[in-house]
């Protein structure tokens, strides 16, 4: 039997094409298929988790408001002593198990691969579109690549990651809200026009 493929809540809601206003500066909207693992340092064990992640994954866990990457894994700071680890899709539960094995009783690990959905928006006017939905200042002088904010976007809890300089942003939301979130995002992008790959 081949490995089962999970179904995204957006599977039937993201159809490739160009939508909204015509124009030369559309934004690009896509879903990123990722493995997501929530890692917590247990009480007083922050240093142990940091060294375990350094030793096991060569990853230096980022400080508040930031992201850090090592190889295929990117860690996003999401709350005191907790990070969301993002990696390309792999076999079910494998990354969570590896991280738990590395951290042992110094860390608590929760697989959120299915619990969260990752949307990506990029393009010259991506920050303009996000400004309709989000209070965070996304100007390069205030945010910029590698920065992370846990903030409401479109009234929904979201981990906002300035993932690339293009500019491009990852938006990590609760999967049950993904369709609703996508509706708000695409509505906001009608003005610039948007392209679904």
């Amino acid at each position: 039997m081949s490995a089962p493929e999970p179904v995204s809540p957006l599977a039937r809601h993201l159809t490739a094409g160009r939508y909204g206003a015509p124009g030369d500066a559309p934004v690009y909207i896509s879903e990123r298929q990722c493995v997501l693992v929530q890692l917590f340092a247990r009480k007083g064990r922050g240093d142990d988790v940091a060294s375990a992640m350094q030793a096991g994954f060569d990853l230096q866990l980022p400080s508040p408001g930031n992201a850090a990457s090592a190889g295929e894994i990117t860690a996003l700071w999401i709350q005191p002593d907790a990070w969301m680890l993002v990696a390309p899709r792999g076999s079910e539960g494998a990354l969570a198990a590896r991280i738990k094995a590395a951290c042992g009783d110094a860390g608590s690990v929760v697989d959120q691969t299915h619990g969260r959905t990752v949307l990506h928006i990029s393009g010259r006017r991506a920050a303009w579109v996000l400004a309709k939905l989000c209070r965070v200042d996304l100007h390069p002088s205030a945010f910029g690549p590698g920065r992370v904010a846990v903030t409401p976007v479109a009234d929904l809890a979201c981990v906002l990651h300035h993932s690339d300089a293009a500019p491009g942003f990852d938006l990590i939301v609760f999967s049950s809200y993904a369709v609703s979130f996508l509706e708000s995002l695409t509505h906001a992008a009608l003005e610039t026009g948007y392209d679904v790959a």
Binding site: M1, A3, P4, E5, P6, V7, S8, P9, R12, G20, A21, Q38, F40, R42, K43, G44, A82, E92, G93, D105, S108, V110, D111, Q112, T113, H114, G115, R116, A131, K132, C134, R135, V136, D137, H139, S141, A142, A154, D155, L156, F174, S175, S176, Y177, V179, S180, F181, E183, S184, H187, A188, L190, E191, G193
Partner: protein
Amino acid sequence: MTQRFRTASGGRIDRNRVLRFRFDGRAYEGHPGDTLASALLANGVRLVGRSFKLHRPRGIFSAGTEEPNALAELRSGARREPNTRMTMAELYDGLEAASQNRFPSLRFDLLSLGALAAPVLSAGFYYKTFMWPASFWEKVYEPLIRRAAGLGRAAREPDPDQYETMHAHCDVLVVGAGPAGLAAARVAGAGGARVILCEQDFELGGGLLMEPEHAAWRDETVSALQSMAEVTILPRTTVFGYYDHNVLGAVERVADHVAAPLPNTPRQRYWTIRAKTVVLATGAHERLIAFPGNDRPGVMLAGAAQAYATRFGVKAGARALLFANNDAAYDSLFALQDAGVAIAGAVDPRPESAGASAARARGISVWADSEIAGTSGGTALHGAHVRRRGGAGTDTAVVADLLCVSGGINPAVHLASQSRTPLRWNEALATYVPGVPVLAQHSAGAAAGVTGIAEAAADGAKAGAAALGAAAPAIPLPTGTTADARVLPIWEVKARGKAFVDIQDDVTTDDIRLAHREGYKHIEHAKRYTTHTMGTDQGKTGGIVGAAVLAEARGERVQDVGLPTFRPFATPVTWGAIAGAHVGKHFAPTRRTALHEWHVRNGAEFMDAGQWLRPAYYPIPTDTDAWESVLREARAVRRAVGICDVSTLGKIDVQGRDAATFLDRLYTNTFSTLAVGRARYGLMLREDGIVFDDGTTSRLAEDRFFVTTTTVNAAAVMAHMEFHLQTAWPDLDVQLASVTDQWAAMSIAGPKTRDTIARIVDGIDLSNGAFPFMAVGDGTVQGRPVRVFRISFSGEMAYEIATPSGYAEQVWNAVLAAGREFGITPYGVEALGLLRIEKGHVAGSELNGQTTAADLGLARMLKKRGDFIGRTLAQRAGLTDTGRPTLVGLRAARRDEKLRAGAHLVEPGSTTSHGWITSVTRAVEIEGWIGLAMLRGGAQRIGTRMHATFPLKGEVVEVEIVSPYFVDPENQRVRA
């Protein structure tokens, strides 16, 4: 119709292009660059509205946002927008506008006969007159008053347009793009700051727009600003509110200047701006003088008449008279003269002035040491009565159709004052200016009492430099002479007739004095008693005049009386802009389970559960009504097997060394004794001892639990846990993660459940011995990971299968295939509710924030040893009173009679309520309707009959009081 009041040349309008528009059904023409007001004046239209209370004829009074009179319904049908200021409405081709508050027509208004009764329509009239009987207020008086005093009519249809919200951040926000604002923005922008420049007009320039000699500086400054990458210029954007921490609200009218927005474009955009520093360059509004008949069409602020002449190329009248107490206002008169308007003269209360001398030099007659004691005319001004200051001598009748008034200026301090900047009295201008700000803020130009183009620009440049906080670059500034804006503070001319201090709200000087006599001596009380400054114009032209009249009545100085508090909104904002995109189904976000698409494809009827959409039931073609679907689904569970999507239940992953201790403190029962691989039902109280939530919690490892909550309380329970971890018990090693969306869950229930799922679940021995009631285990279904819980909400043998939500549909389909031979039936929330009522399980209707554990028959859940949240307050006498209503079951005595939730339980023939019905359903286990109820002396009443009465529907149903456990009271089936 020709524009007979349009000048041949001059102004910022494009005479080469014609825009056609209609007002009250009549066709007119104007030009790009016009407002609706300037275009109407160009066409000689003077009468544009009727006043709010007295239905007096009114004309265009101003050329800006301070307009009290010229309010119109703009556009038609679903896009009709009432109370639009004609002075702010940019003209476009095809514009349709209608006057307001007139019946049947503007020229002949029947309700204006009420003006004959005007002596009784004084301040507080409604309060005094419509007092009795009280019951008449809502049904009779208020609707009558509203019809007589209506403003415009809102559209009845849904608004077809889009509205947006936008969040912006900047180093320097400049409000207003007059000379001060432009200079401030340029200095800050040139110094490298991120600047946002908001201007409510469609053109940048403010006062510069009526000073052709400064056009070059304006154009050069605007183009310099446009070339700066970090300067955002927002025309047609009104900043209406100033909140804490330099957060300001603004509305951008993106598409109000076209008939309909372009596709994909919002009509308006609501901006929330967070600024490090704010420069308020909001300018000033000219002040009216309260003299009798100062509201007649043709009476206009002097600066407005000048703006119409020099900016719009419109003569606001054929023959103009000036009434002013300051020299600067003479410039307006001279501009009219230059535009070809005949000048009747100038009336000046000052004995002598530079303005008067300049006027005489231009051949204009001046009545010095004089005042205007009244106006004549009907729906248009014919002339004014001039007399010596104070009323000595005889009146002179002067013929004029345009009376330009200037009582000085009122700096637009609304935003500064909203931000708690104290106001300071400026003696020379007899007005308030902003004092020392509380927030990082600078007021500049006329807003700070600095008058004159060159002076305002220089002041703006200074503010821009201060906002920049660094070495400021030099910028070009305009030069020129400035008229003297100092005033002789006269507020009122006391003579026969109504002299208005608030033209929009029909508040007169006598109304203010009446308020004072009747005890409303404080400015805030006088405001509310008279409605002074409460209109859409917020008293921009006459607010301080009313304060001055009150001051005189109190025998004090104006500056000791003060102004009413300024609050948002400084100018009106449409509901559409406030609602933004949150309309219709986008009012709030919607949550969908991972099985949503399956439910849709299989014809589910949905219902809301919080923000979740859940299947209520799945009708099939042979079902004749909803009940038939629900009963069919419930019978399938009782007789064979059913499957229900329970993904919406809250799920919290609780980990850490102290996880068990934490749960022991949170729940009324104990979890530290729970074995790994087992689940236990848990009950949680609020701090006040009332039941909060319930659910099953499973132990996955020594230091890891999987907590479930009810659907609606999921977020509240998570917050409750976080709160206690962060405040009460920060020493505990516990980590919380919401995994509600990570796991889809389905409940498979009924006697054929094990036969069904045993076929597909690998890795778990599901036999009763190996996997008893309340067992938990991990396995797979067709290679997908699943976690199986042997728990039941229906009273039947049941298993819950949870799987990572991306596999939900695959696992669900696998179960359906495995159960096909048993007739497996998907069931919705309605059947789920039916089954739990039959089983006597409590849910939201019983966990209603009023019930204790004992009330619900759950007293055994309260552990004897150890503390838990709510323990202490649950011991209060009122909560332990044995007379409290307790949970019972009900059955309709006649099997064909329906029960209704909310009905009260009474003794036959009595109206004393002993309790109420919480949940009802038609049953499948037994015949007829059953229910759960909270009943005083419930246990003792079992076996008796009572009446369930629902007076709102006139219903009385005889019920048997029974045990709440209609199904399998010994709880054998779940263990089978």
